[in-house]
C-alpha cells in the first residue's frame, strides 16, 4: 500500500522586495495512515511553508512552487504548479494553528464557525450542521457543548479555543490533521490536555498527524517519525528513537544540547548554537549548517551534502557519514 501522503523534492520560493527567498529547498517525506510525523526546526527553517504549500495556503504570487510533487491518497495535489486548495482543505486535510484566538472569527459563535465548514464542504443544511457541530464540541471534551456552541471566542479560554479549533478541523473527517505549533501559546498543563486529546482522536479515527513544533519534549511525547529541518532542507529524518538516541546530524545534536534535560545530573551545561541561520536569499552552496557547525570540514563549505542512508528509514544530510571522511562519525554522534 502506498503512503497516505508522499512529498517529493518540494521547492518553494517567495518574491520579495529584497529578492527571491528560497524558503523550501527540496523537501521529501512520506506519511502513513495513523502515524504522527513531527517537523522540528527553528523559526524561518521552512517547516510551516512546507505544510502550507501542501494545503494550498501559499499566496501565489508572491509565492511559487518551483518543483516537486505532493501526492495525497495517490492524487497529485500540486497540479501545474498550482494547488487545488479548496478540494483539500477541510475534506482531506484539517489544520490547527498556534494562535487560536486570531484564527477564529470573533463575530461568529463557535457553533456557527464549525457548522460553516460542514455547510461549505459537505453541503449540510444549517440545522444539521449545527447539530453536528455540537457533537464535535462534545467530542473534544468541552463541557456543556450545546451552551458553548452559542458562545463567542472571547468567552473561551485559550485551551478551550484550541479544542474548538480541533473540533472545526475534524468536522469533515480529514485523513490528515496538520497542527502548526498547536500548544506553543498554552500552559504545560493545558498542553498536556490538548496533546492527550489529539492522541485519543487519532486512536479513534485513524487519522495521520503532522505536528510542527520546536519543543523536543512534545516531539518525544507525540511523534512516530521526525523530520529535522534547517535552512529550508530536511537535514535528518528517521523514527523518533533514531533522531533522539542515534542523532546523525550536528544540528540535531545542537538542538538537544541547547535544551536542559532533566536527568538528575545538575552539573550539565547548556550549549547554545552560536550564530544564526544562513540568508535564504542566497543559500550557501555547501551545507546550510556549515557556518554554525562545530564539526565543519572543508568540503562542507562548497559541496552540498547528499542524504546518507544510516538505517532503514534513517537519513542525514551530513558529510561526516561519507565513507572517505577521515573524522569518525561515531565519535561525533556517540552521545
Amino acid at each position: 500500500m502506498s503512503a497516505l501522503l508522499e512529498v517529493d523534492d518540494l521547492r518553494v520560493e517567495f518574491d520579495t522586495y529584497g529578492g527571491t527567498v528560497q524558503a523550501v529547498r527540496g523537501v521529501s517525506f512520506e506519511l502513513d495512515r495513523g502515524q504522527t510525523l513531527a517537523i522540528v526546526g527553528e523559526s524561518g527553517c521552512g517547516k510551516s511553508v512546507t505544510v502550507q504549500s501542501i494545503m494550498g495556503l501559499i499566496p501565489m504570487p508572491p509565492g511559487r512552487i518551483t518543483s516537486g510533487s505532493a501526492r495525497l491518497d495517490g492524487k497529485d495535489v500540486i497540479d501545474d504548479k498550482r494547488i487545488d486548495g479548496k478540494d483539500i482543505r477541510g475534506r482531506l486535510v484539517g489544520m490547527i494553528f498556534q494562535d487560536p484566538m486570531s484564527s477564529l472569527n470573533p463575530t461568529m459563535t463557535i457553533g456557527e464557525q464549525i457548522a460553516e465548514t460542514l455547510q461549505v464542504h459537505r453541503g449540510y443544511s444549517h440545522k444539521r450542521a449545527l447539530a453536528r457541530a455540537i457533537e464535535l464540541i462534545d467530542m473534544t471534551r468541552i463541557p456543556e457543548a450545546a451552551k458553548r456552541a452559542r458562545q463567542y471566542p472571547f468567552e473561551f479560554s485559550g485551551g478551550m479555543l484550541q479544542r474548538s479549533m480541533i473540533a472545526m478541523s475534524l468536522a469533515c473527517e480529514p485523513s490528515i490533521l496538520i497542527a502548526d505549533e498547536p500548544t506553543t501559546a498554552l500552559d504545560v498543563t493545558i498542553q498536556a490536555q490538548i496533546l492527550d486529546l489529539m492522541r485519543e482522536l487519532q486512536r479513534d479515527n485513524g487519522m495521520a498527524i503532522i505536528l510542527i513544533t520546536h519543543d523536543l519534549g512534545v516531539v518525544a511525547r507525540m511523534a512516530d517519525e521526525v523530520l529535522v529541518m534547517y535552512a529550508g532542507e530536511v537535514v535528518e529524518r528517521g523514527s523518533v528513537d533514531d533522531v533522539f538516541y542515534r542523532s546523525a546530524h550536528p544540528y540535531t545534536l545542537g538542538l538537544r544540547a541547547a535544551m536542559p534535560s532533566n536527568r538528575d545530573d545538575a552539573a550539565q551545561e547548556l550549549t547554545p548554537i552560536d550564530g544564526s541561520p544562513p540568508d535564504l536569499f542566497a543559500p550557501p552552496a555547501g551545507c546550510g549548517y556549515f557556518a554554525r557547525c562545530p564539526h565543519a570540514m572543508r568540503a562542507c563549505e562548497t559541496e552540498h551534502p547528499r542524504a546518507f542512508e544510516l538505517g532503514e528509514q534513517h537519513r542525514a544530510r551530513c558529510w561526516l557519514h561519507h565513507e572517505d571522511c577521515d573524522v569518525a562519525a561515531d565519535e561525533v554522534f556517540r552521545k
Partner: protein, 328 residues
C-alpha cells in the same frame, strides 16, 4: 559602594497582596498574601500557569503596581506602598526588570544607543561621551556589536532584542532584577544563549534574580530555588532540583508531570499526565485550598481551611515550604 554583606535577604516580600478592582464591586485577587525571602546572589525561579499571578508578583515587588497590602523590604528598607515619581528615580538604580516580549518592550523610535543609555542619562552624572562608552561596553558584554548603537530595534532579531533589553536593565548595575519570561519568545538555540548570558552576568555582577517562566526544565536549570504559584498564592518553595524531582504539593507534582521530556522512551511509558479542568477565575476565589477542586488528593479539610505555607523537613533539611494539608 559595596552593599553590606550579611545574611539578611536582599529582598524580603512579606504578606504581599495585590488586588485589582474591575468594577461592579468585583475584585481580581491577583496576588494574595505572598511571603518570599530572596538571598543575595540567589536566583529564585517562579513558575505557575498563566493567570497564577507570577508577573503581577514581580511587578508589584518592584513598585510597578501599587501594593494592596503587605510590604517589600529591600536591603533592610521598607519600600513605599505606592511609588511617587521620585521613588522610581531612586530605586531604578538598584532594581530593574527584563520583559518577556522583546518586540513591544523597546521603543521603536529610539536607537539602541538611546534605549540602553537612557538610564545613565537620567540617573548618573556621566558626560555624553562617557555614556557612549559605557553603552558600547554593555553592548559588547551582551554579545552585540557596539557599532550598531545607532540602529533601531526593528533591525534586530528576537534574540538580539532580548539582549538589548538585558543591557538596558543592567547598565545601571542594579542589585536585584526581575526577569519576566525573558526567554519564552525565543528559539531553543537562542534561549540557551540568553540563559548562559544571564548566568554569566549574575556571576560577574553579583546579581540577584527573580526568574519568572513557565518552562519548568529551564527554571530548574537556571534557579537555585523554585517557587510555585497557583491562583495568586505560593504553594511550594524549595531548592530547585528537589522541588522538581521530588515535588511535595499535589499541584507541583501535576505541573511537573505535564512537562514533556525530550526522551521518547520515558514519554512512551508515561500515561496521560493532564490535570483535569482549568485554573479558576481569580475573581471568585474558592474558600479553603485554592487547588481543592482540581486536586486528586483532596480531603474534606481542604475545602474549608486555607493551608498555610509551612516548613517541611525533607532529607534532614528544613529548607522546603509547602502549603498543603497533607503536610499539616
Amino acid at each position: 559602594m559595596s552593599p553590606p554583606q550579611t545574611n539578611e535577604p536582599i529582598v524580603a516580600v512579606k504578606g504581599l497582596t495585590k488586588h485589582f478592582e474591575i468594577g461592579r464591586g468585583q475584585v481580581v485577587h491577583a496576588v494574595d498574601d505572598v511571603s518570599l525571602d530572596i538571598a543575595r546572589r540567589e536566583i529564585v525561579g517562579l513558575v505557575g500557569e498563566s493567570g497564577s499571578g507570577k508577573s503581577t508578583l514581580g511587578k508589584t515587588a518592584l513598585g510597578l503596581h501599587d501594593k494592596t497590602a503587605g510590604e517589600v523590604v529591600f536591603n533592610g528598607e521598607s519600600l513605599p506602598a505606592k511609588y511617587t515619581p521620585g521613588d522610581f528615580q531612586r530605586y531604578a538604580q538598584s532594581m530593574q526588570m527584563i520583559f518577556q516580549d522583546p518586540y513591544s518592550s523597546l521603543n521603536p523610535r529610539m536607537t539602541v544607543g538611546e534605549i540602553v543609555g537612557e538610564g545613565l542619562r537620567l540617573h548618573s552624572s556621566l558626560s555624553r561621551t562617557d555614556i557612549r562608552d559605557t553603552v558600547a561596553d554593555w553592548l559588547r558584554r551582551v554579545g552585540l556589536n557596539p557599532d550598531h548603537m545607532s540602529r533601531y530595534p526593528h533591525e534586530f532579531s528576537g534574540g538580539q532584542r532580548q539582549r538589548i533589553g538585558i543591557a538596558r536593565a543592567l547598565v545601571l548595575e542594579p542589585e536585584f532584577v526581575v526577569c519576566d519570561e525573558p526567554i519564552s519568545a525565543l528559539d531553543v538555540s537562542v534561549q540557551a544563549q540568553v540563559v548562559n548570558l544571564l548566568d554569566e552576568l549574575k556571576e560577574s555582577l553579583g546579581l540577584t534574580l527573580l526568574f519568572i517562566a513557565h518552562d519548568l526544565s529551564m527554571v530548574r536549570y537556571v534557579s537555585d530555588r523554585m517557587a510555585v504559584m497557583y491562583l495568586g498564592s505560593l504553594v511550594e518553595l524549595g531548592p530547585a532540583n528537589r522541588v522538581f524531582f521530588e515535588p511535595k504539593h499535589p499541584y507541583t507534582e501535576l505541573l511537573i508531570g505535564s512537562n514533556p521530556e525530550p526522551d521518547p522512551v520515558s514519554e512512551r511509558s508515561r500515561d496521560s499526565t493532564a490535570i483535569r479542568g482549568e485554573i479558576p477565575s481569580p475573581v471568585n476565589v474558592p474558600s479553603g485550598c485554592r487547588f481543592a477542586n482540581r486536586c486528586p488528593k483532596v480531603m474534606d479539610v481542604c475545602r474549608d481551611l486555607t493551608p498555610e505555607l509551612i516548613p517541611v523537613v525533607d532529607a534532614g533539611h528544613a529548607d522546603r515550604q509547602v502549603a498543603c494539608h497533607l503536610y499539616g
